[in-house]
């Protein structure tokens, strides 16, 4: 089965998305675009929540006492609130402060709303008025009086100039405010402030006492106070909720308004009610702690949801998304009524899904076409519940759907052959169950949660097997062929249906969906915040955590999992590496990834295509799999490289690869040190030239035993002491001497002492002591080394005598050890690490061009292989073919031998004739007879068609065909395998039309042998080229093609291959004669002449033009070398005219200018540049036009008459000049 996914939450309750804990919530407003909700609380606080992330963004606390009214502005970063402090406040959520306060109401403000386009605010208050304010000039522009009790709620009509208000006076009033709009939408630019003031004064003092808002309708029907009222977004409908526990529906026309119906159900005061923005539903909340959903058209209860302890006070709908929020005693809950995830399944290139209208459609990924509706599922489950899952069975072309309605139902439906519209499905199978999924071609499993039972059913819906799932199972999904994955809240089980055995279990909490990779080897288990990747035996491979909710996932063909969260598409590799692919504006459900394209369904169940940049994860995948070539390719073709990828490589332990990307010397230096690439490190350190770097390089060099680097770094650091010691350690005495010199130069006494010690240079030590007036030390040194002369001198200089100096006794002077090995000459030997394979790939890339040139002909560009044989030749060939076929129509009948063959088989009692025999009966092609094992008749056919006589070369081909058509199917133990016959007529069952598969189609021969042969020509390996082309000839000779056009193409290929064999044979003959010698002066005149002729004939056969160019070039040079300037000139002209290589042409032009001075041939060769002639394939001599000759009936190569009847040298099968009816290659 294809990858499919399904969910485990299947209760009838609402889908709660967010809940907050606070004091009583009295007002709620959704932000129209962002995932924000404002909640005004009884405790005077206004909260701003991100309901997606579940975080409190901000708090606004300036009201005194409860805040009841709250609303976001539709477009600007504003919101308005109204509280029990009589104040209306307008806030900016950007600057996070109250911008201004509108004072005027004389009692609690109940509701506040912005107008959808005008700069107006509508408020209702316990002072019994409804007021309109202009928030731009912060003026009260209209006060509506009429209610004679608290005005509880007032709302603008979403389109028209109407207001509806509700009051505890038990009435609902509709007001017409078109007058107000007229006045305020009049041009204001020209109006001065005074004008405005005067207009307002006018309005206040309307002489008839009329205001700009007039009561249009008064709706009476509630017999208690009305708490809430709302317009329908599009229809002339009003809904109200009152303390009489009723929700009432009203309709209005231009002239009147009336009560339509009442929704009864709340058993306490109904607090608020509203219309569903997109569906024919009413939602209401009440103090009976319930949220109720009503059918707008039938006024019946559809759904209800009860909270344990909290009375509901308010409800709000998101203007666009399918989301609602309800405020209660202890906070707010955000919920949706139904799942928006469209049920879907992917099979190969098709997506099957259920639309919002509950129609089944398919979508073709290759053509990007959505089908028309195929089925309507109106009858499945209840009207308001969409199906939860869809499972597709490609073998039967049927679908299996589940719906959570009525505690879970499933339905098995066959898809119609063509999508002809939303028809009601006929003969469906149904039953109860929470999950249902196909487990095999003719089986599906149904899981029933209440009975904790899984039934395996066949397609007629009868149970064939019953399974008891592990305790606490909540859902069941496809688990690979013959298996199910059973999901419990904490664990997932892999269950084998046939063995009725649990194969594995894995502790993963809260798995909701399972997505299988297309090869069925891996599955991703999705829970709300985790993705766990497992293999098909449920072994965990990796797991990752997301803070944002995970919505869906699908597998890339390369084994990368892409998953979507609420706002991102991300990827994860098998090893758990993950990252962001792109951001999402709207939540989508991924169904398929192909290259840069992600297919998904949006919440409206419409297929969507997103483009992504897969470079990053492709690169990481290539890295993990060590596909360095691909990495290289990615690096070259994309602008991937960034700091992140470098640090990623470094972190993952690939500093040597990261090194390839970095330009910044500092980073390069660090990376080089990390991967031990001292060369690069030295280069970078040189560029940067900072002591710290030299310092680090020196210790790294020391660790590597690379004392040359160390020496350099010490030099750079002017670290003389260490340098001296290094020279001592490496035995570099010469440099030590130099160090001593330098020390003397610097006047560094200690250093001099040190160096002289290292050098064992007593003399210089004494000198030094003397210089610094340390005579006693100098004397001691001299004495210790037995240098008595020196001693005398010192004593003398000090004015002392030996007697006055008392010395301790000392032993023998110690000589510093001499270096045994000249270590300094080279670094410590290290095992060659070689270049990493990545570096190799990089290097190889650079070498490509050089390698291509090392072939025999030293041509530059021979890649243009598009020109095949000359078109004229083709036509002629085809004509010949047709003509010949016309002669011998009847002869193609199957030879009689074969009848006997069948009879022999049939003689066996009870046995039928094998399919192989049918083949020989059904076809006049030699290949089909060979496949049938009737070699006799196959040869007979070839003999008639192309005069074939020498079959030995065809043996491998015959046996290959024969062997390719018999498979061995193991069946019953103890009996030999069943032999089956492989056909090329796959969909055919009529025994008179069945034909065998013939291996090697034209394309494969052209890509294989013919290309190999031409390559051999290109690289001058003619001895390999001849057999390659001959093999191609044999493959083409015994073959079967699907169309006449292909057969014609095959004939052209035969002709061309034959010409190549001929050309190569001529050239090989020349080489046999004179070897590789280009200068023929040492050969006899006869050989010389023959060699020159053969070289010329090489240019005659019809090869591709770039190969003919090679022949011409070779012939031209050969002639030139041997002073045959006449011939050379001819070749040069031909080359200039027809050559395909610019360099050769250049040479030809030069040669031409030389040759034209004396275009003569000292040796007369039989070759006429201008004459039309063929070359006899046996004697390699010209056959001039008009001269009698015979051709090979198969390959068309010509021969002198004396060769008639011999086997063709080129194809090695047919007899030259034999009678033939022409090769048949199509049945």
């Amino acid at each position: 089965m294809a990858a499919s996914s399904s969910s485990s939450s299947n209760s009838n309750s609402m889908l709660t998305k967010f809940e907050s804990k606070s004091s009583r919530a009295k007002g709620i407003a959704f932000h129209p675009k962002r995932p924000w909700i404002l909640v005004s609380l009884h405790s005077s606080t206004i909260q701003l929540w991100d309901y997606r992330m579940g975080t409190l963004i901000d708090r606004f606390e300036e009201h005194d006492g409860p805040v009841r009214g709250i609303d976001f502005h539709k477009t600007q970063p504003l919101f308005v609130s109204g509280g029990d402090d009589y104040k209306i406040k307008v806030w900016s959520y950007q600057t996070r402060r109250c911008l201004f306060t509108l004072n005027g109401h004389l009692d609690y403000v109940r509701t506040v709303f912005f107008h959808h386009e005008l700069p107006w605010i509508l408020s209702s208050s316990d002072d019994q008025t409804v007021r309109i304010w202009n928030w731009q000039n912060r003026q009260l522009i209209c006060t509506m009086t009429g209610h004679n009790h608290y005005a509880m709620c007032a709302q603008f009509h979403p389109k028209e100039d109407l207001i509806v208000s509700a009051s505890l006076d038990q009435s609902v009033r509709v007001w017409d405010i078109s007058g107000l709009r007229k006045k305020h939408s009049a041009p204001t630019s020209s109006m001065s402030f005074e004008d405005q003031m005067s207009r307002q004064a006018q309005q206040q003092a309307d002489m008839f006492g009329n205001t700009d808002a007039v009561v249009k309708f008064v709706l009476e029907g509630h017999d208690r106070g009305v708490n809430w009222v709302a317009f329908h977004p599009t229809l002339p409908l009003i809904v109200s909720a009152g303390d009489d526990r009723l929700v009432k529906l009203w309709r209005m026309s231009e002239t009147r308004a009336w009560e339509v119906d009442t929704c009864r159900g709340h058993f306490q005061n109904a607090s608020a009610a509203l219309f569903h923005p997109h569906q024919d539903l009413i939602l209401s909340v009440g103090e009976d702690k319930t949220i109720r959903v009503w059918d707008l058209n039938k006024r019946t209860s559809v759904q209800s949801f009860k909270r344990e302890n909290d009375r509901f006070w308010v409800i709000a709908a998101h203007p666009e998304i399918n989301l609602f929020a309800a405020g209660h005693d202890n906070g707010v809950m955000v919920f949706k009524l139904e799942r928006e995830r469209p049920a879907s399944a992917v099979h190969q290139n098709q997506l099957f899904f259920v639309t919002k209208e509950k129609h089944v459609r398919s979508y073709d990924f290759t053509k990007n076409i959505e089908s028309p509706s195929m089925l309507s599922l109106k009858k499945l489950g209840s009207a308001w519940t969409p199906p939860r899952t869809l499972s597709y069975n490609p073998a039967e072309r049927s679908i299996l759907l589940t719906s959570p309605a009525d505690n879970g139902v499933y339905e098995l439906i066959s898809l119609p052959k063509d999508a002809s519209g939303a028809v009601e499905p006929s003969n469906t199978m149904r039953g109860t169950g929470n999950s249902a999924v196909f487990v095999a071609r003719n089986r599906f499993a149904v899981f029933n949660q209440s009975t904790q039972q899984i039934d395996i059913k066949d397609l007629s819906n009868s149970t064939t097997k019953t399974i008891k799932p592990p305790h606490g199972t909540t859902d069941m999904v496809f688990g690979g062929t013959g298996c199910l994955l059973l999901i419990s809240p904490t664990t997932i089980y892999l269950y084998d249906i046939q063995q009725k055995k649990q194969l594995a279990e894995l502790a993963v909490a809260g798995v909701k969906y399972v997505v299988w990779s297309s090869d069925g080897l891996y599955a991703a288990l999705l829970s709300k915040h985790n993705v766990t990747i497992v293999d098909k035996s449920l072994k965990q491979i990796s797991t990752l955590h997301e803070t944002i909710r995970i919505k869906s996932a699908c597998w890339d063909d390369a084994g990368v999992l892409l998953y979507s969260t609420l706002n991102h598409v991300k990827y994860t590799l098998m090893n758990g590496d993950n990252g962001i692919v792109r951001t999402l504006e709207h939540t989508v459900y991924l169904v398929r990834v192909k290259g840069r394209t992600v297919y998904c369904l949006d919440r409206a169940a419409k297929p969507k295509i997103l483009t992504i940049d897969p470079t990053e994860y492709r690169f990481k995948l290539a890295l993990v799999k060590r596909h360095y070539d691909e990495m290289l390719n990615i690096i070259k073709n994309s602008s991937l490289v960034g700091q992140s990828i470098i640090s990623y490589l470094q972190k993952k332990g690939y500093p040597e690869i990261a090194l390839q990307f970095v330009q910044d010397p500092q980073t390069r230096f660090e990376l080089a040190l990390e991967c031990g690439n001292l060369e690069v490190a030295v280069d970078m350190a040189k560029q940067l030239d900072r002591p710290v770097l030299w310092q680090r390089l020196s210790s790294e060099g020391l660790a590597h035993g690379n004392h040359q680097v160390v020496e350099m770094t010490y030099q750079k650091l002017r670290n003389f002491d260490k340098l001296s010691f290094l020279y001592l350690a490496t035995g570099d005495e010469e440099k030590l001497h130099r160090m001593a010199k330098i020390a003397e130069h610097r006047g560094d006494i200690v250093s001099r002492f040190q160096n002289s010690l290292y050098l064992g240079d007593v003399q210089s030590r004494i000198e030094m002591f003397k210089e610094i007036d340390q005579y006693p030390l100098a004397y001691l040194t001299a004495k210790a080394h037995g240098l008595d002369d020196q001693c005398e001198e010192i004593l003398e200089a000090c004015g002392l005598t030996a007697d006055t100096v008392s010395l301790p006794s000392f032993g023998q002077p110690v000589e510093p050890p001499k270096a045994v090995a000249p270590t300094f000459k080279s670094n410590w030997p290290k095992r060659a690490t070689g270049a990493s394979s990545f570096e190799k790939a990089l290097m190889a890339d650079g070498d490509d061009t050089a390698a291509a040139e090392t072939n025999g002909f030293v041509e530059e560009d021979l890649l243009a292989e598009d020109i095949v044989a000359e078109a004229g030749g083709d036509l002629e060939e085809a004509d010949d073919e047709d003509a010949a076929a016309g002669w011998d129509m009847g002869d193609d009948a199957v030879p009689e031998v074969e009848e006997d063959f069948v009879n022999v088989e049939a003689a066996e009692a009870g046995a039928g004739s094998s399919e192989a025999d049918l083949w020989t009966r059904n076809s006049p092609l030699a290949a089909d007879h060979a496949a049938g094992g009737s070699f006799d008749s196959a040869m007979n056919l070839l003999n008639r068609q192309i005069g074939a006589v020498n079959f030995q070369p065809l043996e491998p081909r015959f046996l290959e065909i024969y062997q390719s058509t018999r498979t061995y199917l193991p069946a019953n133990s103890g009996l030999p395998p069943l032999v089956n016959y492989v056909r090329r007529t796959l969909s055919e069952t009529d025994s008179r039309r069945i034909l065998p598969l013939i291996p090697r189609d034209l394309e494969s021969i052209q890509a294989g042998e013919i290309t190999a042969g031409k390559n051999a020509m290109k690289v001058n390996k003619l001895e390999d080229g001849v057999p390659a082309f001959q093999k191609a000839l044999h493959l083409l000779m015994v073959n079967a093609f699907s169309s006449a056009a292909q057969a014609q193409e095959a004939q052209a290929a035969i002709h061309s291959a034959a010409q190549y064999v001929l050309a190569m044979s001529i050239e090989l003959e020349r080489r046999k004669l004179v070897g590789k010698e280009t200068d023929l002066s040492s050969f006899s005149d006869e050989d010389k002449k023959r060699a020159l002729e053969l070289s010329a004939y090489f240019t005659v056969p019809g090869m591709d033009s770039q190969h003919q160019t090679l022949a011409l070039f070779s012939a031209m040079n050969f002639a030139n070398k041997n002073k045959q300037l006449g011939s050379a000139l001819g070749f040069a002209n031909a080359l200039i005219e027809r050559g395909t290589n610019a360099k050769f042409k250049e040479t030809a032009r030069k040669l031409k200018s030389v040759a034209e001075r004396s275009p003569t041939d000292p040796l007369d060769v039989e070759f006429d540049t201008f004459g039309e002639f063929d070359i006899c394939a046996a004697s390699f001599t010209p056959i001039y036009a008009g001269e009698a000759s015979f051709a090979c009936p198969f390959c068309g190569v010509k021969y002198h008459t004396k060769y008639k009847g011999t086997v063709c040298k080129v194809c090695q099968v047919s007899a030259v000049g034999a009678p033939s009816s022409g090769l048949r290659l199509v049945v």
Partner: protein
């Protein structure tokens, strides 16, 4: 209740046997753990599994000279498979005459007779079964090997009517389907694939079957994948090697290596014998022509 049926005790061992999981048949099932009536069938299945693994001598030895007809049939089969002796065929013929109503005798002697070229006798013997799917499967195969697809189909259809969706019925139908071709290839493929991909029944045998069906449908790459999987499971499986030769030659690859591997594993494999015979036939056919070569 049918012990081999979907709910029976023997279903797993029998399925494993049919799927060619012979090692599993021997290692995972202990005859003593089965109920009394089922012990003997388990024993027989295990003997047959041993035969399939080539342990003929072990089987002959442990059967000894038992007078139980079932075991005599086992001995006849093992002896025949070991060296194809005429004595074994004679034994089988005798058993089939005297104990023809015994299922084990029907099955095992049926195999011996069929292999000895006495297909009609084998079929007659097998036709005496009473609702045994093994017997049906054998009959179907014998019919197919005689190129009587029509009879095989009839046999499989009749089994479908009494055994519904049993594994062997599915398999037998698939075997027939592989001969019929057309849409039946796909149907057969589904059956083989289902077996090959389910973890409990995945075996080299079922993978080979899947590969063969894919090969017949021209899905060469898929076939290659499945065959290679089979060869990973059982590198020396002769059927896998034989089909690999077929697949490679369709792809135009050099098959000599695989063929010599097959030669070393099972020198008497039908494919090799057939190939050698055809090679001779080619040479014989060649003789009729006398090509003239230009010196």
């Amino acid at each position: 209740m049918d012990p081999f049926g979907a709910e029976g005790e023997l279903v797993n061992i029998h399925t494993a046997f049919v799927q060619g999981q012979y090692e599993l048949v021997l290692s995972d099932f202990e005859a003593s753990s089965f109920s009394d009536t089922n012990r003997q069938p388990v024993q027989i299945l295990q003997y047959r599994a041993q035969c399939a693994l080539g342990q003929y001598d072990d089987v002959i030895k442990s059967v000894g000279n038992s007078s139980v007809p079932d075991l005599q049939a086992v001995k006849a089969l093992a002896t025949f498979l070991k060296n194809g002796s005429d004595g074994a065929v004679a034994d089988a013929e005798k058993l089939s005459e005297t104990q023809g109503e015994n299922l084990t005798v029907q099955l095992l002697c049926g195999i011996v007779l069929a292999r000895a070229g006495k297909a009609d006798q084998a079929l007659a013997l097998l036709s005496r079964h009473e609702g045994s799917l093994d017997a049906v499967a054998l009959s179907v195969q014998i019919h197919l090997s005689q190129n009587r697809t029509d009879l095989a189909l009839k046999e499989a259809k009749s089994a479908r009517s009494f055994a519904q969706d049993a594994l062997l019925v599915n398999l037998a139908e698939s075997w027939v389907g592989m001969r019929q071709g057309g849409e039946d290839y796909q149907k057969s493929f589904y059956v083989f694939e289902e077996l090959a991909q389910a973890p409990s029944s995945a075996s080299a045998t079922s993978l080979i079957a899947q590969a063969v069906s894919e090969l017949h449908m021209g899905r060469l790459e898929e076939a290659e994948t499945a065959l290679n999987q089979a060869l990973v499971l059982e590198p020396d499986n002769s059927a896998a090697l034989a089909n690999k030769v077929v697949l490679d030659s369709i792809n135009g690859k050099d098959v000599s290596e695989v063929r010599s591997k097959l030669q070393s594993v099972d020198s008497q494999h039908e494919m090799l014998l057939d190939y050698a015979a055809k090679k001779e036939a080619f040479q014989a056919a060649l003789e009729k022509y006398s090509p003239k070569f230009e010196a």
